[in-house]
Amino acid sequence: MNKVTIEKLDVDVYEEVLENGLKVFLCKIPRYSIHARLTSLFGGSILEFKLKGEKKYHKVPAGVAHFLEHKLFDKKDFDPLKIYENNGASGNAFTNEFITSYHFTGTDEFYDNLNTLFRCVHEPYFTDENVLKEKGIISQEKKEDMDSNYFIVYDRSLINVFHNLDFKNTVLGSLEDIQSISKEDLYTCYNTFYHPSNMILTICGDIDIDETMKFIKDYYSKKDFGPSKEIVIKKKEEPESVVVERDVINKDIQNKEVFITYKVKIPNKPDDKYLNKVYFSMLLDMRFSGLSELADITNTNSNFLSGISSRVIPVDDYYILSFGVTVKDDTEEAIKIIEDALLDFDFDSKRFNMIKKLILNSLILSFESPYEVCSTITNQVRLYGGIVTDIRSKLKSLDFDTFVNYIKHIDFSNRSVVILEKKAN
């Protein structure tokens, strides 16, 4: 095991790659609850793939990663959730565009729960009957999203922004996708993406590091997953342009929903992927956080019925920057205010330093709960290949001039707007 220390936070993480390729991260913090999370690097945006050596790519319906997540809880002779609950723990899972994570949190019977997590993920049992049963359940999950104004515009924005990337599909898929998923699709995905070499295990809480690692190794020493094979995701060229620049959806609603997406080529510099993302995110902090002028506009302008939500995610070679807001009447005013704020390159170094201080401050909070620690480690391993131990030094190195220069060279011209509103009479 290799021990790494998160700088200035008094947090140690023990890491090891098992013989089967599973990346294991153990972290002891003074909490009674233990959170454990087993993550497959398979999410909703991966739909065409093969194992190295296979001739043809497999093509699966959208929503299959999420469907697979549901079905891994269905077993022939045991019920993972029942075992968790009987141990006083709670178990669950989630799927996003990039990963599927299975997890539990509990204060007792840690090893029984951990064994259950492993069995839940590594013992698939898919039948035509249980796949059919799940379609009704997942369709209802999808229908809830279909009634959410936010998801209506978000889902449409994906279609309008991406030409070729499978990211254009929603994680749940459409109702038609859900109906079309078969047992064979699930096994194809499972056999490709659920080899331990494509997975990350993170555990955090009041654990005995050596005993826990021994338990993990004992379990995996008895399981033969076969040799790990390289996964090839079909490469799809994605133009810088968006597909649809403006789209209006009609629904019988009172207010209007605006969703704006910018598709931005990831800048080459800085080379450090972590810092590159932080600099980009600082743009949002500078222009759209509570410290910006926009905070007062949304508070005092009666057209704005919500604050402006913002999000940035790296997808392939792009940063996808999105904004959402609910307005009373004037959608154009909202679009203009957001665009003007984004393209205003007259930055203030005082505010930059204030935000830098707050980001450093928030770092302390991200290591306060087992759930947050596992989440942070998993994301860092996925995005940066390992734990970023020197986050504090990196954040302290953030420099105003570098930031201004970084932002000034970004092209924000590829924009897609989706509006949801009542049909005009």
Partner: protein, 420 residues
């Protein structure tokens, strides 16, 4: 975990010392008797308090001041707690051991001013901001139907009388908001400060003595002093033939809520048996409703029961196809009957008990849970964590079966979508 109580200048201060966290959690709660009149003011008041300041002219300035003291997070809400409404300022800030000395006092002073020093001009709330907030509140009420689950919940509350009076309809709320003036709201605020009961809870790695000094120096309150407030509401009757309300909406999914009342319950049942009952019926993946409605019949993605112990009310929520309403309702009734007949496994009964014990332990992992645990004890004359475990150990299957006979469906609300 030890909680110390200090009688301060017009209020009670509760300090909870723990060295397990890098942050400090604080709640300042002002309780006042609920009555229909409060509908008119509560939503506007917390919106005004949280976004205005006597000292700062804008949200940006407030946030800049926050940044100077290492960015505390805070919110103010009016929360129903049985017979009371609690105006609660809830905040979290980094322990000064990780920032700089004096930050505890700076945070407490800064945060408390939102509650105790609002922006008042000529005996009324700032009219300009008031009018904007009022317009936004009216827009919020008018567009509630855009948020089906929230709308359905409000509509059930309207139909099901649980607090001794009929909850205002959305149209009534709009009318009341339209009629409200900045002076009316300030008069209500003064009444709250005069008749409300203030309690402050603070949890973190600090010296209680030092904390007491900080509060003594910075906060004085002239409201109600006595602590003899009963939050409980006793349900006395229910619709023997449940009131079934169906309303159509242009949605894909239908939102079903089954409202139940618990009559003639003992305090032991209210505080312990009710928990097990609601969890066995609708509390997790293995509960009766989830197994029956979701797993065996594929009718929904979510179905769960939420209990309100103080009011003796339980609601069952499900998202279904409109055409499946009869079948779903029938299954819910069947599972409630199964509870009365004791048709639930011992394994499930013991399992939910273990979840309860586990939840008592994990209270110590979250500062807000630690604070809420003490609030529960103080507001409800409740037991401490240790005693809660002992009391729960006493609950038998028969207790749950007997309690099930006291739970009655009163109102059923369906916001029916097209299901296409």
């Amino acid at each position: 975990m030890k909680c110390k109580k200090y009688s301060m200048d017009g209020y009670d201060l509760y300090t909870i010392e723990t060295d397990r966290f890098k942050t400090v959690e604080m709640k300042m709660n002002i309780r006042i008797d609920d009555s229909k009149k409060i509908d008119k003011y509560a939503s506007m008041l917390w919106r005004m308090l949280v976004s205005t300041s006597y000292k700062y002219d804008s949200i940006k300035e407030i946030n800049e001041a926050c940044a100077e003291i290492y960015d505390p997070s805070f919110t103010i809400r009016a929360i129903g707690s049985g017979s009371q409404v609690v105006f609660s300022l809830s905040a979290s800030f980094v322990n000064e051991k990780y920032t700089e000395e004096g930050m505890h006092e700076a945070n407490i002073k800064f945060l408390s001013e939102f509650l105790f020093k609002p922006r008042i001009i000529d005996g009324a709330f700032d009219e300009e901001i008031f009018n904007i907030k009022k317009k936004k509140l009216i827009d919020y009420y008018s567009s509630m139907k855009d948020y089906p689950r929230e709308y359905a919940d409000h509509r059930l509350e309207e139909e099901m009388i649980t607090l001794g009076y009929k909850v205002s309809s959305i149209d009534e709320l709009i009318k009341m908001a339209e009629e409200l003036s900045p002076k009316d709201l300030y008069d209500f605020y003064k009444n709250l400060m005069k008749n409300g009961k203030l309690d402050i809870f603070i949890c973190g790695n600090f010296s209680s003595k030092e904390m007491k000094k900080i509060f003594a120096k910075n906060i004085k309150f002239n409201g109600r002093v006595d602590d003899d407030i009963d939050h409980r509401v006793f349900q006395k009757k229910y619709n023997i033939k449940p009131n079934i309300v169906i309303e159509d909406a242009p949605n894909v999914q239908s939102n079903l809520i089954v409202g139940c009342k618990c009559l003639d319950i003992t305090e032991f049942e209210r505080n312990y048996v009710f928990i097990l009952y609601s969890w066995i019926l609708g509390g997790g993946a293995n509960c009766l409703l989830n197994q029956s409605v979701r797993e065996n019949n594929s009718l929904c993605y979510y179905i769960y029961a939420v209990r309100k112990a103080l009011t003796g009310v339980m609601k069952i929520y499900a998202g279904i196809n409109g055409e499946d309403f009869d079948k779903t309702y029938e299954l819910i009734q069947k599972e409630m009957k199964n509870m009365e007949l004791g048709k639930f496994s011992l394994e499930l009964f013991e399992g939910v008990k273990k979840i309860y014990y586990s939840s008592l332990i994990s209270v110590m992992d979250y500062q807000d849970d630690m604070v809420d645990s003490y609030i529960y004890q103080i507001y409800n004359n409740g037991d401490d964590l240790e005693k809660r475990k002992k009391m729960m150990e006493k609950v038998t299957r028969e207790d749950v079966i007997n309690f099930a006979k006291k739970v009655h469906i009163d109102t059923v609300y369906l916001l029916r979508g097209d299901a296409k």
